[in-house]
Symmetry: C2
Subunit: 189 residues, 2 copies
Amino acid sequence: MKAEPPQSTGNTAAQTRVIEAAVALFGEHGIGGTSLQMIADSIGVTKAAVYHQYKAKDAIILAVAEAVMAGLEEGVTAAEGERSRARARDVLIAHMIDLAVERREWAGVLQRDPIMLRCLQEHARFRDVMKRVNRTLIGGAPDPRTRVLAATLAATIAGAVIHPLVADLDDATLRAELWRHIRKMLPSR
Amino acid sequence: MKAEPPQSTGNTAAQTRVIEAAVALFGEHGIGGTSLQMIADSIGVTKAAVYHQYKAKDAIILAVAEAVMAGLEEGVTAAEGERSRARARDVLIAHMIDLAVERREWAGVLQRDPIMLRCLQEHARFRDVMKRVNRTLIGGAPDPRTRVLAATLAATIAGAVIHPLVADLDDATLRAELWRHIRKMLPSR
DNA sequence: GTCTATAAATCGATAGAC
DNA sequence: GTCTATCGATTTATAGAC
């Protein structure tokens, strides 16, 4: 267990610089509107240096997806360890809120950009995580009402944190208020 | 008052074909990831024919924004005519839900794509509509709690309708269930 | 790990015929 | 309203020196 700089992914410092710059640009111009030239300029290197870290643009997109999905998988794994389905759902929601609030721009890119959504659907590993998330959010019977609730919860968490109206709020306030509003939608309380 | 084919915008048939194809492709690949070549191929014409309808890609984006924002402005105008702020908010939410449910892919593109978001912020006309929407949603004092609620409402409506979990639901069911969950978040009920 | 240089493809956009 | 043909800029991606 060495001290790993930022996240605990097996990335070099140069790779971390690339994906951090990529996420910022993806959020600002969209993935399709972000060129490798823009990423290279943002870091202060040339395109060729970026290609040395990731052999294609798709690999960068994949690395971004990997970084955020790791946090989500961690949350759903913790949730699945709970005793009741209601507790599991609450634990997952808490994890999702923490994740979304702490990395607001990241959450935006991941759940919003069509190219990222396609990336998440194309890789079985990501699809599996999303399936577990949805199953935990739904809890029991997948009737229309519960499915709309699950979709509403996911959309709320991912979408509210990047709304201009809350851009100036600090993490603690946003997290607390988000919890307050979401809790009112949950049954049996 | 002549009988206008689809929407009541002053568009020719060829222009309508272009923006309908554009919206579909924008939703699938993102705006930045959609080329005029793709739009032209989708309609079955050449790029030059598309350029004859809209002199630039920005003009197409603008036309898409115009089409959806027209519906939103209609809703907020109707809401502002209500007597109480609470009623105004409810009327606006109802309009937003109708709009989002009926044109699900449209809602996705409009509120999700970074390029579209920038387009909405750059044009004073759109910024003004969004300001009226936010003011109506907030109702009174813009304290953090109310602002998070407004952000949550907007994010929920726009995001839930395009979630995969509800893709197979018909409009009436989705609308009703969405109302049910959102109503629980509203105060004084 | 970063650079220069360049290939091959595609992009947005325009000109002019029909 | 649509076409062919093309320009110039930009894109992804590669080769090879340091």
